[in-house]
Amino acid sequence: MPTATASQTIGPYWHLLEEKGWDDLTRFGPVPEGAARITLTGVVTDGDGAPVADGCVEVWQADPPASDDFLGWGRAATDAQGRYRFTTLKPGPVPGRGNARQAPHIAITLLARGLLKPLVTRAYFAGEALNDTDPLLAAIEDPARRDTLLAREAGDGVWQLDIRLQGEGEGRAETVFLDV
């Protein structure tokens, strides 16, 4: 049997695919009862500290469950400052492997010129009680690195998660990227 097709970079011209509104996951329907609309935003920087201004950020969340009104997926371009921004619904916990429960999180895929294959990470939400027992967060020993997966509330319903492709030190640690 053939193995999976090789990945290649999305390159600098992927914006041809960009559609207005794809960064708003709530665009297809009303916000369901009990769900909270949030903004997830942040800045993507490279190893020189320069903004990644031509990146494609995609998000996927398994909760709230997908429906005709909520695809659970969105795509945003980074702007000249490297900033991405999504409007979505705050996820709740989802099952982990075995008996585990995973803390609420949003999966992130970063594609860009210079990335021959996608980079995958997650946005968790600072302050969630389940963060302390989340299996993936628990597997990251260095607290400074674990912190790179925690979005911080930066205003009413606005959550900020910066993504650093390389970096070291307080507040500048390289984002934890996942082998999925």
Binding site: P2, T5, G11, L16, W60, L71, P95, L116, L165, L178
Partner: protein
């Protein structure tokens, strides 16, 4: 049914996707491709055992994401260049078709220029060619697009660097971890041996599968040459990975 709670839990776990075969995927750090220098992660990746987050994914439908299967003309006006038909199948590593999955494509025009502000290559834009398409595989995983053969274009990676003719493809498959973005090349392109993006894939066999083949069956008489490009997405593993297992 087992009386052991553990077994029941394991049976409930989603089936993970298989790890990629060694040598078949490019590295993050590829010095010959200069843009990887400041953009590759310097730290090892953290293994994420697959959960519902990785094994499920968005379901795109033509009602929300209308297909655009013939991009060789705009409003009935033919684009410049050589019209071609590209078709293929989307399969998984077990050879099973991946049905009803969305494929996005984008590419330069026949002169080697993207309809994109950032592209300043001194080659003509074509008002009748935007270079973006979208199709869905059918029940058997088959898909087909009609487009224009893209031109080669220069880039600044190294002296006298030119990208081989290529069409970009983006697929989502059936789960988040099946995401694939790749490029399709054309047979006999003399630029392929010189291209760092193509050549950063370690195994020659894996590289060569990115090269489409001329296909007389896809070719339509009196209309357009046909090329075939089959795409393989990761298969599902037979056994779940243990937590913390490194791959």
């Amino acid at each position: 049914m087992s009386r052991s709670g553990r077994l029941d839990d394991a049976a409930r776990d989603p089936i993970p996707f298989r790890p990629f075969s060694p040598g078949t995927q490019p590295p993050y750090d590829a010095p010959a491709y200069l843009s990887t220098r400041a953009r590759h992660p310097a730290r090892p990746l953290v293994t994420a055992p697959h959960t519902v987050t990785e094994t499920t994914g968005p379901r795109f439908t033509p009602s929300r994401f209308p297909a655009l299967a013939d991009i060789s003309a705009t409003d009935g006006r033919a684009a410049q260049g050589e019209r071609i038909i590209v078709s293929g199948r989307v399969l998984d590593e077990e050879g099973r078709p991946v049905p009803h999955t969305m494929l996005e494509i984008w590419q330069a025009n026949a002169a080697g220029r993207y309809a994109h502000l950032v592209d300043q290559h001194n080659a003509p834009l074509d008002p009748n060619f935007r270079g973006v398409g979208r199709v869905f595989s059918d029940e058997q995983g088959n898909w087909r697009i009609v487009t224009i053969k893209p031109g080669a274009y220069p880039w600044r990676n190294h002296a006298n660097a030119w990208r081989p003719n290529h069409i970009h493809f983006s697929l989502f498959g059936q789960g988040f971890a099946q995401r694939l973005v790749t490029q399709m090349y054309f047979p006999g392109d003399p630029l392929l041996p010189l291209d760092p993006i193509f050549n950063c894939i370690p195994h020659a066999a894996a590289r060569d599968r990115l090269i489409s083949s001329f296909d007389l069956e896809t070719t339509q008489p009196e209309y357009a040459l046909g090329y075939r490009f089959d795409i393989v997405l990761r298969g599902r593993g037979a056994t779940p990975f243990e937590d913390g297992e490194h791959r």
